[in-house]
């Protein structure tokens, strides 16, 4: 920066090169080319893809940030390389550099440009989160989302995290629970994410959905799958010995295929569904009323429905 100010603050010597113009003329085509390549060539392949509206939105955000960042990076590199070549020390040149007194125009330009970029990104990011079409951009919004998509015909899918597996409940299909995540294409989905033990994080990569799974908390995230395909689900929060193996693959299918799957699964899992706790947004697995009765019947007291006596530690 000092070299920049030094260079720019010194008027071009009479008949000497205009360094600022030279750098600008090198920077401009490189930046335009980089931005075009980033947006149109590499952009469509940027993560997390375009399987859902939230994923598409995230990809667009990453493209916008890349397009803004590339000219800045290219300016820094162009200036550095130019300085290394043009202002390198020549043999026999032992003179000091020119004194630096600052340059109001450059400083104002620098502050203005960076401020505009940062403020634009802040506004842009907020808009992308709050825009009704995105409704939180696939992120967990807690139990009372302030950004909700329009409409009410959401497919409710509860994500239950436990060491070291995700299970999914479908309350609109009798509340069955399964290890398979299957979604219909084109229908908005409301994920209700919770945990039965430690903190996990539900990350459906291709859908652009990521929500922490906290015990005793319902963390809501929205998305609308727009293409059929396979979804990779990973735990994104270090959760114990087998955290690295806590992943599975979900599917986005046609509406008819999903309806068929859900109806068939509801019927085939009816017996296990009957012994599940009633559907709720959160669960407290440490208190099981039936166990109290069983223990009392056996003449054993003290556990009070807990897994272990109350003096044993539980989640803070």
């Amino acid at each position: 920066m000092a070299a920049s100010v030094a260079a720019e603050s010194q008027p071009a010597e009479a008949g000497g090169p205009n360094h600022g113009l030279r750098i600008f003329l090198m920077w401009l085509p490189l930046s335009v080319a980089a931005d075009l390549i980033l947006y149109f060539v590499y952009g469509p392949h940027m993560p997390p893809g375009r399987m859902s509206n939230t994923a598409e939105s995230q990809q667009f955000d990453i493209k916008v940030m890349s397009v803004l960042a590339a000219p800045v990076m290219i300016f820094v590199l162009t200036f550095a390389i130019y300085a290394l070549i043009v202002w390198r020390r020549r043999p026999g040149d032992d003179a000091d550099g020119p004194p630096i007194f600052g340059h109001a125009r450059i400083q104002a330009t620098w502050i203005t440009v960076t401020a505009v970029i940062v403020l634009f990104l802040a506004g842009f990011g907020t808009y992308e989160l709050a825009w009704p079409g995105m409704a939180g951009a696939g992120a967990g919004e807690g139990p009372s989302p302030i950004w909700q998509p329009k409409g009410s015909d959401f497919l409710q899918v509860q994500v239950i995290a436990q060491q070291w597996r995700f299970t999914y409940r479908y309350p609109q299909f009798g509340g069955f629970e399964t290890t398979q995540l299957v979604l219909p294409v084109g229908r908005p989905v409301q994920f209700n994410v919770t945990s039965l033990d430690v903190i996990h994080s539900f990350w459906a990569y291709q859908l652009g959905v990521k929500a922490d799974a906290n015990p005793g908390v319902n963390n809501i995230a929205y998305t609308t799958p727009e293409h059929t395909g396979t979804v990779t689900v990973r735990c994104a929060e270090l959760c114990g010995l087998w955290h690295g193996a806590m992943y599975n693959f979900g599917k986005v299918e046609s509406v008819s295929a999903f309806e068929s799957w859900a109806t068939h699964t509801e019927a085939s899992l009816a017996s296990i569904t009957r012994i599940l706790p009633p559907y709720a947004t959160t669960y407290d697995p440490t208190v099981i009323p039936n166990i109290n009765a069983a223990m009392a019947k056996a003449g054993i007291a003290g556990a009070n429905g807990y897994y272990y006596p109350p003096q044993d530690p539980v989640q803070p």
Binding site: D197, Y307, Y308, P313
Partner: protein, 227 residues
Amino acid sequence: MSLPARIVTLLVAFLAVVAVALFVVIHYFLGGPQTVDFSAGVSADTGATVHVVLQEDPQNTVSTHPDWVSYFIQSPTTKKWVHTTLFKVPAGSRIDVTIYGYDGCTPLRNPYFGKVTGTIGGVEYVDGKPVSQINSWSGCNVGHTFSIPGIDLNVPMASPGLTANLCGTSPCTSGPHKTVTFSFMSPRATGTYFWQCRVPCGGGFIDGFGGPMQTIGFMTGNMEVVS
């Protein structure tokens, strides 16, 4: 301090450091439970049958954590019980499993895992009777589970009951227990598949999911599938 004393002191200190380093390397990096090999002499991908026998105990009296619950695996060659949770099976084979459940009961955190999945026929046999699910929230009836998420295998282990006078010395050879048998096909894809218990049986740890639940050699381990 004299020169010989200095040399001796330095030598002793050096040897102490070396000893500590060796202990750490041997005990923590090279040590650990042994792997019981059920693949010896069995050709992979032929559908051959392999018999794997385990037991789960309310404690173990063979380790430095005697109050931790633990699985044991029976060696197919010596028939001795080995304190480990690592075993090796051939790929593409039928695995017949027998597990002796000597431990008491604890309810599952998620009763969904009371359902038997991934076994041949979708059932397990508890003392010879076919069972497709056990409701661990209805009473004292589940001790642990044997679950391999990578192949969607989940088998709840029946418990001998709330008032049973449980075996107190490991590996258990007598005492009230349930015998659980089931079969599954090992995957054709070779590799390491972790297995775990889903019952929070780590008493004394947060939510019962620490200690033996997260320590290989006790309630979790690996099934190595080889060609």
